[in-house]
């Protein structure tokens, strides 16, 4: 019996050889057939010549997390050949370039080898040396299409979209595609015992990476100043902003930019610029990853204490230090929540899909201005740099940006005894003014040193304590403004709960389905923000045992939960994956079942 729409294909390539676009062509064609698909790049921290992999999971049920066990491996990299052959599941397939023979000693009895003379074919069929090289990739896509029953029509359509305006290029591409298909047709049985079948499961969903979505979200959220310093995996977030802004934010009359992007000299400068711009009333953000976040600590403390809004996107990668710069992790949480010396706490938003990247990035600016404090958008490499299937973006045209408490000239004129750091409304949030607003009212001195309600320098103990306690109150207000968690049940029905967040979502939802199908009662909650709102506390209170799923070594979110909600640590059980690859459902099910079997 053949398996439909449920398998994993992995491509082993050399980076910098143009395989990326062929591989995503493969993934997208399945998506176009209405079948849920997810794809992950596993790439080295270098530019050219090292092994890189691309892993595609096809899942009828819509499970978009990573899954162990490779059903089919496409190998076009001799460097990693041995390892690649070893990684195929027993009974699986190994597609390779048979122009050169495989070493005898690499062969395995328990998998199927499908040799295609990619180089021979291309050498024979193409004359241009670059084409000879590039089209090897398209040939194997054609072969796979045949083997997996993927629609050639869909692929051709994708190719014509891709080369719109350069139609001449479509023809040789299609030719290469068919060369691959034909070779399979002539030499092998097809399709395989697992394959693709057209469905209507994708609906109106889109395929995009989180960084692209977040960049677009920032455009929609009204960001007009972006300052940044290049670092993987955050670079493409800014590129996305810039790309969309260049299209959508030109002044119609002059053609000039209704935004500015400045590549700064380092991360200290990047956050400094973002703070300066926000201080002056523009919505500004910066984006970085771990090492950059470390460098931004001092400035984050300044923004916290002098109450300046700023949005910072941290696309997390594997730490510590340079760590594994092209691997994913959720390990900057603790530093982000408590960044900078002294007593500080910051607001975090934690998206789990590109759709949420779009939404939360836009919302981050409202939140930062409402609260007059840094808001850290905490995503990760997996979400940021891999394309994910997700619901389409929506925007309510009646939505007005919430600029928070900013006094304009008339309000200042009317204001009685205004003070920059007065808690007028009892919510811990004072009123601010922008430079240049009023000739004689509203000017104040912003400083990171201790100040009183009128922003005057002060070394008075009582004043200091008053302001510091108001900042605590402000964080209480933040709890009512940040997005509430998502729940996976109408009412809690179990003594066991599981908490997850960010990209663990994909695997966690799959795990939940499997465990529930296995008869395990378990409630689930997906966190979206820090500080934690009441519902988070309630969920934990309502359960005897709560598993906390996260992608770091030290269970950082668990620490935040325990510390902020005064939870007994015994209650929160770690479920951790921190090896740099996205977590799988298996890794979540295992410890939970093990512990629950024990306790039954």
């Amino acid at each position: 019996m053949s398996t439909i729409n449920d398998f994993v294909v992995r491509f082993a390539n050399v980076n910098g050889t143009g395989s990326a676009s062929a591989n995503s062509l493969f993934a997208k064609s399945i998506f176009r057939m209405g079948v849920p698909v997810s794809a992950k790049n596993i790439f080295p921290s270098n530019i050219q010549g090292l092994p890189t992999w691309y892993e595609v999971r096809v899942s009828e049920k819509g499970y978009l997390g990573r899954k162990n066990g490779i059903d089919l491996m496409v190998s076009v990299n001799p460097q990693s050949l041995k390892k690649d052959i070893a990684s195929v599941r027993p009974g699986g397939y190994f597609v390779y370039d048979s122009t050169k023979k495989l070493y005898e000693e690499f062969l395995r009895e328990d998998i199927n080898f499908i040799g295609i003379p990619l180089m021979d074919i291309c050498n024979r069929e193409f004359s241009d040396p670059r084409q000879k090289q590039l089209f090897k990739n398209i040939v194997y896509v054609g072969a796979l299409a045949k083997l997996l029953d993927i629609s050639f029509d869909e692929i051709e359509k994708l190719l014509s979209e891709q080369f719109k305006g350069k139609e001449k290029l479509v023809i040789p591409n299609v030719k290469a595609l068919n060369l691959g298909g034909d070779y399979i047709a002539e030499n092998f049985d097809f399709p395989l015992d697992f394959r693709v079948e057209r469905r209507d499961l994708v609906k109106d969903w889109i395929l995009i990476d989180g960084n692209a979505a977040a960049g677009l979200g920032a455009v929609y959220g009204g960001a007009s100043v972006v300052s940044w310093y290049p670092i993987t995996p955050s670079t493409s977030l800014v590129s996305s902003f810039e790309k969309y802004a260049n299209k959508l934010r030109k002044d119609p009359e002059t053609g000039k930019n209704n935004f500015s992007v400045v590549q700064s000299e380092d991360e200290l400068s990047a956050i400094g610029m973002a703070i300066g711009a926000n201080w002056n009333g523009a919505r500004a953000f910066t984006a970085t990853s771990g090492p950059g976040l470390s460098l931004m600590n001092e400035f984050l403390g300044l923004a916290y204490y002098s109450e300046i809004p700023v949005v910072l996107a941290d696309v997390q990668r594997s730490g510590p230090s340079t760590g594994m710069p092209t691997r994913t992790q959720q390990s900057d949480l603790l530093m982000a929540a408590y960044a900078s010396h002294g007593d500080t706490k910051h607001v975090l938003l934690i998206p789990s899909t590109p759709t949420e990247c779009f939404e939360m990035m836009a919302d981050a600016f409202d939140l930062a201005e409402q609260l007059q404090t840094p808001v850290l958008f905490m995503t990760d490499l997996d979400l940021g740099m891999n394309e994910h299937m997700c619901p389409p973006f929506k925007w309510d045209d009646s939505r007005k940006y919430n600029r928070g408490k900013v006094l304009n000239a008339e309000e200042l004129e009317a204001a009685q005894d205004w003070g920059r750091y007065k808690d007028v409304d009892g919510d811990g949030i004072p009123y601010r003014t922008l430079p240049g607003t009023h000739p004689t009212k509203g000017a104040y001195f912003t400083r990171g040193s201790s100040h009183d309600e009128k922003a005057a320098y002060s070394e008075d103990s009582d004043t200091y304590v008053r302001i510091m306690n108001r900042l605590v109150k402000k964080l209480e207000t933040a709890k009512t403004l940040v997005p509430s968690p998502a729940f996976y049940q109408e009412n809690n029905t179990s003594e066991i709960g599981v908490i997850f967040f960010g990209t663990s979502r994909y695997a966690a939802e799959e795990a939940l389905d499997i465990m529930r199908a296995d008869g395990l009662k378990i409630d689930a909650m997906r966190l979206k923000a820090f500080p934690f709102c009441q519902e988070v506390e309630d969920f934990i209170d309502a359960h005897k045992q709560v598993f906390v799923v996260e992608q770091n070594r030290d269970a950082q979110m668990r620490t935040l939960l325990i510390n902020e909600l005064e939870v007994n640590p015994k209650k929160l059980i770690r479920v951790l994956n921190f090896d740099g690859t996205p977590i799988t459902a298996d890794l979540i099910i295992q410890p939970i079942s093990a512990l629950n079997l024990q306790s039954i």
Binding site: N258, F259, S260, S269, G272, N278, F393, A443, R447
Partner: protein, 350 residues
């Protein structure tokens, strides 16, 4: 602490063209040491802004950390001030300027703030030609942390405790010129007549204007042997020119065809009149000033006055093609592309 300024102002105190008196450009009481050079610079800033008839609330004054960086509290009380973190004022000023290119940006920093911890930001704000006036109150030491040598302490300068500085001092002006600064001047806190017109000219320049002002620290670096003491600077000060700032509308009555006078027209139509200009030196000729600075260094002279001016300067916002309208005044309409566009984007992602 300086002595309390008289609260009383004469009803007929002179007013500038906006109708403001000098008082309206003052700040809070200084808490610096009596005699600190920085206080004189603050006073010069007040005078320059008053005389230029700048609207005080249209100035944003920014600084880092240090005695010098405290001074924005001591001038222009009706301006928004930002006392940021040590050495990082340039980035904050850059962000602020990107958000609203219409204000006047006045940055104040110290030599520790700009030449040590902040040297990277100092260099890069110059490269970007940010439209701001940047005043370094240069005393060759870290006043606020009690007088350690800074990176501008000259080679051979002797500290109060008697130790000799063995490291090369950074010449802020020479570095700025090398990095492409478009307005570079040097002055002395004790020379109000030179400093005030320089500040006025700097504020009128479109692009980055550096004024490095030697500003003695009376408490920690005013001893004999120090090359940043009042006495030393007075003795070694070599003015390249004296100058006047000539507002655009002012009638030009004097005769300018004298050999040692040069009129430089600024970007906004104002003029700088350079009197008694040194021979062989032209502030619009980079090579001439680079040479002059090198030679002066060998002779232990401190060249003051306008050193370099590029009147073709293009400031950051124009370099990167930003609209003229301040970005912080853009509305939803200009910022948000709306749902229709978004639907198209969605379509492209299927």
């Amino acid at each position: 602490m300086s002595y309390i300024k008289p609260k009383f102002e004469h009803p007929r105190a002179p007013k500038n063209t906006l109708g403001y008196t000098r008082k309206e450009y003052e700040g809070s009481l200084s808490t610096l040491c009596a005699g600190c050079g920085h206080d004189s610079i603050s006073a010069a800033i007040v005078d320059a802004c008053f005389e230029l008839s700048i609207e005080p609330h249209r100035v944003a004054k920014l600084s880092g950390i240090g005695c010098s960086s405290k001074t924005p509290a001591y001038f222009l009380n009706n301006s928004h001030g930002f006392n940021s973190v040590h050495g990082r004022m340039p980035s904050v000023a850059t962000g602020a300027n990107l958000a609203n290119r219409d204000l006047v940006y006045l940055g104040v920093s110290g030599d520790g703030d700009s030449a040590s911890i902040g040297f990277g930001q100092f260099a890069h704000v110059i490269r970007r030609n940010l439209n701001m006036t940047y005043i370094v109150m240069n005393n060759g030491c870290y006043g606020l942390t009690k007088g350690q040598d800074s990176a501008t302490a000259d080679h051979g300068s002797v500290s109060k405790a008697g130790s000799v500085n063995n490291f090369e001092g950074i010449d802020m002006c020479a570095i700025a010129i090398e990095l492409g600064a478009t307005f570079v001047a040097q002055s002395f806190s004790g020379d109000k007549n030179q400093l005030i017109p320089l500040i006025k000219a700097a504020l009128s320049h479109s692009g980055f204007s550096l004024i490095n002002v030697v500003s003695p620290c009376v408490t920690f670096n005013n001893n004999p042997g120090s090359t940043k003491s009042y006495d030393y600077v007075r003795e070694h000060n070599e003015a390249l020119s004296s100058l006047d700032f000539v507002p655009v509308k002012e009638e030009i009555t004097t005769e300018y065809d004298e050999i040692d006078v040069k009129m430089v027209e600024m970007h906004d139509g104002t003029f700088i009149k350079l009197n008694k200009l040194h021979q062989g030196f032209d502030p619009q000729d980079k090579l001439s000033i680079i040479n002059a600075l090198q030679v002066a260094r060998q002779k232990d002279e401190i060249l003051t006055g306008l050193l370099y001016l590029d009147t073709e300067s293009i400031e950051l916002n124009d370099l990167i093609g930003t609209v003229n309208k301040p970005l912080n005044s853009l509305t939803e309409k200009e910022l948000c592309p709306g749902s229709e566009v978004l639907e198209k984007i969605n379509a492209g992602l299927r």
